[in-house]
């Protein structure tokens, strides 16, 4: 499903080029729950950006279902981000002036979902991740961290993506809530055959995923 071949990413900095990723190659099958661990600055988030078509590699390739992301046009990249992948961020990154329901409706709109029935579909997704009728009407500031992350997950799965990219999804949550969020992602992976790639510091959580890659200084050291 996902094949990364000899992926390299360099950033220009005043002090010279910085090698964020170096010769990364990995494969992930459909429906797998994969974790990527590593210290800060090891290149985890950069790798996730590459997989999400938010950034382009310096060299190498990323193929999702046989499509090379580097060869996509800007418009195709936008469509890929809207329909093929879902993002879950450590900081949740919900739109603050929209309610939980409207945040999910926004993803449905970007995914090309017809406006009729968008509200009902968003409500269904939010209930699926464990929010009640009152909570889905609230703006992010009036939700707890765990509830906000559930909204972010509902937003990520809104368009039935083949791949969910989660950047430290439990990083801002207490261990109990973090475990619940992990369980929710794990359940989605199993029930909807969605591939999930999660960056995490939590070795306990990483230990429960199907596969774990360890990054160090931009290179994969263990698989």
């Amino acid at each position: 499903m996902l094949a990364v071949k000899k992926l390299t990413k360099k950033f220009s900095a005043p002090s010279g080029d910085v090698q964020a990723l170096s010769d990364i190659s990995l494969k992930v099958e459909s429906g797998q729950f994969v974790s990527i661990i590593g210290k800060s600055g090891s290149g985890k988030s950069t790798l996730l950006s590459m997989l999400g078509a938010l950034d382009i590699p310096t060299s190498g390739s990323i193929e999702v279902d046989g499509v090379d992301l580097a060869k996509l046009s800007s418009k195709q990249q936008t469509s890929y981000r809207a329909k093929t992948i879902g993002f879950v961020f450590q900081q949740y990154n919900l739109i603050p002036n929209l309610s939980a329901l409207e945040n999910v409706m926004l993803a449905l709109e970007f995914g090309g979902h017809k406006s009729a029935g968008r509200r009902e579909e968003a409500a269904r997704l939010l209930k699926q991740v464990g929010l009640d009728d009152q909570q889905i009407q609230r703006k992010p500031a009036r939700l707890s961290g765990g509830q906000q992350q559930r909204v972010a997950i509902a937003r990520a799965i809104a368009n039935n993506p083949a791949l969910i990219l989660a950047d430290e999804p439990t990083g801002n949550l207490d261990s109990e809530t973090g475990q619940k969020i992990f369980d929710l992602l794990h359940k989605l992976s199993r029930s909807q055959n969605t591939t999930i790639i999660a960056v995490t510091h939590d070795l306990d959580i990483a230990g429960k995923t199907d596969k774990t890659f360890t990054l160090k200084d931009g290179k994969i050291t263990t698989k």
């Binding site: 950006s49 950034d55 469509s79 993002f87 929209l98 409207e102 409706m105 709109e109 970007f110 368009n159």
Partner: protein, 455 residues
Amino acid sequence: MNVVSRGIKNATRSPLRNGAIVLMLAISIGLVLSMLVARSSVRTKINDVMASAGTKVTINAAGINGFAGGGNPLTAANVTTIKDTAHVSSITSTLTDQLGTSDTNLVSSIDLGSFGARQNRFFDSGSTTITPSDGSAPSGDTTTRPEIKPRISVTGTTNPNSSSVNGGSLTISSGKTIDATGSDLVALVGKNLATKNNLSTGSTFTAYGKTITVSGIYSTGNTFTDNGVIMPLATLQSLTSQPGAVTSIAATIDSSANVDSTVAALKKSLGDSVDVTSDAAQAETSVSALQGIASLSLAGVIGAAIAATTIILLAMVIVVRERRREIGVLKAIGGSNLKVVGQFVVESLTITITAAIVGLALGILVSGPMTNALADSSSSRPSSATTTMMRPGAGGGFGRGFSQLRTNFSNITASLTPQIFLSAVGITLGVAILGSLLPAWLIARVRPAEVLRTE
């Protein structure tokens, strides 16, 4: 929710700040509308003045200026020559005279005053000797002379309503106008003179030894003119024993393009015995201050539009900078540049349209007073005050036409036409579009990976 509804919702995101932006924009847009109204009103006035004066030519007997100077009046032959000159479409002939105490039983409504005494010091009339100590003679003048009484102007004309006769502002307050083409012993009497002599419609008075019937009472708003008598030209010519004589002719030329050539032709045919002047030059001078207001108004429109554009531009740039992360997230979850930019443009438009509604309402309210204030401030400038400020009773034959500038300013009517309103709306839309261009460009440049990595 869609791009439009999100953009509108975002416009209410910071009520206090956006309220302040709306207020500032509204003031600018209101100013744009007010300045457009002022400019349009003044331009209309300029066009009116130029259209009415641009084809007028005045022919005066050389050496005669009102009741001063000397020389001979124009003759009937002169009048025929003028009438027959190419491009002259119509003429108004005028003969002026003054009624002294021996000519009429009327008493002037104007006090002599020191000005009148000085003007009359060369004349020798009346029977009561006065001395300089009574204050009616110029300071330092110790000459002993008979008492002087102000005279009454009498105008014979072929058209009492002509601006060459009354400055263009004659209204009949009672009775009816005269048949100026006839030679009946009838007259229009100025309201001040009528009041002084207890005259009303149908009353009679004597002049040049004849009994004249008052056909109507007129008012011009000018103290000197309202102390006068207007009668048919032929009547005055007969009463003064000057058959065919006129002191001034106002000719209307068929087109402003023919004025110069007609003036040249008249000068050539009439020779040095007449002075031929075009009113267009005087009108140009008269409206020069109005041109200044029009230019000032245009500068106001441009300045206010630039201010409005700057306000919305800076406001939206600040908004975009504040929401860089949000823009990055929108793009990361699949928002296209078009949709994300569109959302911010709608937000900008919402703020601008709200400001436009307030500003245009404000502009409608203040455009009239602002136009008047501009006209007042310009008419009170020293350069024009010298021609507009006249004491009651002074001027008259010398000042005819000088009141035109005052009339120009006082008659400016601020009117908001649909075209002006649409122009203001168009400028507002332009402001919104220009104010959104830079923010849109900034949004398009936001790279989600960079934003999410660095913030």
